[in-house]
Symmetry: C2
Subunit: 445 residues, 2 copies
């Protein structure tokens, strides 16, 4: 494992460095995405040699569904050129799909990465539930892509650290505390520490469970080193690097397929659409700021797993119920003069709307994570940025459409009759939580 | 759920019927394989309308590796004709791959099965470990095939019972008792019943773990009904139906890729090849007779899971260590005048060779399974059948070749120097366990 301690180069960004950062070869799969692109900039800013892989799947899926990022995003070539202007550093791009094994093998052989950050997956739960074709595409892309990566790493750089984006959604909502990847089980007078049981809530989440099992095996049997980042739902638009230039801005999805809860709620509040809560809104999840995603990935990369170790971090900073988030956004929006309402929609998903939820998230904190907690200021700031692009919002993208049990809600109107809350938090009718894309946004194949 | 109680037709076979057997539409995926073909005959003999799907993947993979079944097997057309001659019943065959979604969808729409028995998977652990291409083929075939099945059932016959062949190898060798699919966990003052944690030992076993998670989801979220049969290692050649006519015989693999432990050991003893034990041979697994596989599948099919239920049965009748099996075969072979030896080979797999192992297998017994336990008579009988085909044995197929960590044993000779035991059970050198194909033989895509 090449750890070039003290060879860090000067940062071009203003954010605090996490300890001593070695200059290493970083390969970012899905480097054109919501999180992949800011991650590429961050590692480049830290002085690392950064290469990215992307096949523009996310951009293409948006074309297919006639949706788009709220933020206008530059082409990858423009992005890379803009970053070179600002930093003097060149990010190398490989255009192709990780589910093409020969392609990925050639990239890994050429880059010889010290660390791979793997975002290159279909990241949306609703997308995976649309049809058989969407489900198959999701599991094939994600599972085969990760398999290809395992073999390429084993072949060319067995000491390379794989940092893989998983999701807190792998765990589901068990009636016991959620631990970080493993749990000690006492049973019939014996005990063992075993992988934490999984109850994923969509065929997308299942693909992540499969990835986790496959990677665990690669570490156990081949001695690879990997960190599985079971990420919560990410919110936020800007990072230190993306805010340097409009050409560096990252994508920001608010549609029902690729948008995440808080991001969607802010857009909805701004354009006067009811904040969409699915069912009762008691669904509780872990959340984190996009800035903390970058911190966490950086912490994982600079504190690599041991050879043979499959390490699991639960990557979120706070737990919220969907209704809590909806009311937070509503209140902040009202404070800045917006007429924000909350509406409960019949839940298109199959999930518990009231449940026990307590997930442990200690390991990243122990390694130095300093969370940006969610507060009014962050919401005000997001609303401000979104306001800039308000004329790009297409209301048709906002309504929930994708159902976990197709046809079940078929007798009801596609858009339920309004039943809105008055802002006091008391319900006057059906709501809506949209977790939307789950926890691992920005990934592209 | 169509359960035509008391409409059973007369059996053409001599084996005892398991309770009242309704006549239903049975679709068998992988119906040309080691277990699939005898299963098709059994259900047809019971008076059911049987259709099978196969793409001859198993026959093709043997062509690719220049290996073959010990038993000469007829073409599928010859098999079906022979069965029609004996029984007056026609088995309908669909030639195609379950990983082709449109094909499988059409088959399900046409057959409208009451129960699907799903054997159509790449079933070999060593096969899955040969290369990236083999691993990808295994997981793509198995995971996508099962996904396609889930969607076809949901679309056309949501009440149909899916009987899926899993494997005991999904569990690995945890330090606690292995339960049937689920375990009650007490943790920090709370408790829940959750899926049993999995520690699969190959990329093939991982594909079965993925299938289990996907099917569990289909039951939880779509209300499908499924039984996951976590099968042990199957041994045996004949069933009541396959022994009626040489054209009805099922395949019997003894090569290092597709052969299972006891079957291989008997062939080795007969042709004077040392019985191949990997490492110490303390690897303990569940085993069962092919006749009991048919019993178990029949029991599962005639006692369907409830709507929304994902039921897991551990399908084996006895536990043995590999060395115990090797010595059993050695002793029986010597009793019939064969010069059988046991040899310990450097283990090409990555697995514990001494470990705790206690797996529960109560549910099938509770439903009426009457095991055929392993004894000397069965070994004598197998040796007798194998003797008929002794001139078909190719010694080149027997040696272990596929390594879990390629290259690691590269400095050693492909075939280690002999170090044989004298039959007393005391070790004089390295041994060899070959589990070979793991637990779910006969499957073809």
């Amino acid at each position: 494992m090449k750890i070039l301690v003290n060879e860090a180069r000067a940062c071009v960004c203003k954010s605090p460095c996490v300890g001593i950062v070695p200059a290493v070869h970083v390969l970012i799969l899905g480097g054109d995405g919501y999180l992949g692109w800011p991650t590429a900039l961050r590692f480049s800013a830290r002085g690392h040699d950064v290469a990215i892989v992307d096949n523009f799947a996310r951009r293409y899926w948006h074309l297919q569904q006639s949706t788009d990022s709220l933020t206008p995003i530059a082409s990858l070539e423009e992005r890379i050129s803009a970053w070179e202007e600002h930093s003097g550093r060149r990010i190398k791009a490989y255009i192709g799909s990780v589910d093409e094994g020969d392609f990925l093998d050639r990239v890994v052989a050429e880059v010889l990465p010290d660390v791979v950050i793997h975002y290159a997956e279909q990241p949306s739960a609703p997308f995976s539930m649309k049809s058989r074709e969407h489900a198959v595409l999701t599991q094939r892309t994600n599972v085969i892509g990760t398999l290809n990566l395992m073999f390429a790493i084993r072949e060319h750089v067995p000491d390379c650290h794989i940092v893989k984006l998983g999701t807190m959604g792998e765990y589901g909502t068990p009636n016991i505390d959620i631990e970080e990847g493993y749990i000690e089980i006492h049973h019939k007078g014996r005990s063992d520490v075993l992988p934490y049981p999984k109850l994923p809530g969509s065929l997308y989440h299942l693909s992540k469970v499969h990835d986790s099992h496959n990677l665990h095996f690669a570490c156990r049997v081949w001695g690879l080193r990997a960190t599985d980042l079971n990420q919560g739902v990410v919110y936020g638009i800007e990072t230190d690097e993306t805010s340097l230039d409009p050409r560096l801005v990252t994508r920001f999805d608010y549609d029902e397929v690729f948008g995440t809860a808080l991001n969607r709620f802010c857009v909805q509040a701004l354009v006067g659409h009811p904040i969409t809560v699915y069912g009762e809104g008691g669904q509780t999840r872990g959340f984190l700021n996009i800035r903390d995603t970058l911190q966490c990935v950086e912490i994982a990369a600079t504190h690599p797993a041991a050879a043979g170790e499959f390490r699991v971090f639960n990557q979120f900073t706070e737990q919220f119920s969907v209704l809590e988030l909806a009311h937070l956004v509503q209140r902040c929006a009202q404070e800045v003069g917006l007429d924000a309402t909350v509406r409960h929609y019949p839940n298109p998903r199959v999930e518990a709307e009231q449940h026990y939820y307590h997930a442990v998230n200690e390991k990243l904190l122990e390694l130095g994570l300093e969370p940006h907690y969610l507060g009014d200021e962050l919401i005000f700031s997001m609303l401000n940025v979104i306001r800039k692009y308000g004329d790009r919002v297409s209301l048709g993208q906002v309504e929930p459409k994708t159902r976990w049990r197709p046809g079940e809600l078929g007798d009801e109107p596609e858009v339920p009759a309004p039943a809105e809350t008055n802002g006091s938090g008391t319900r006057s009718g059906p709501d809506d939580d949209i977790l939307g894309e789950e926890g691992v946004p920005g990934a592209a194949v």
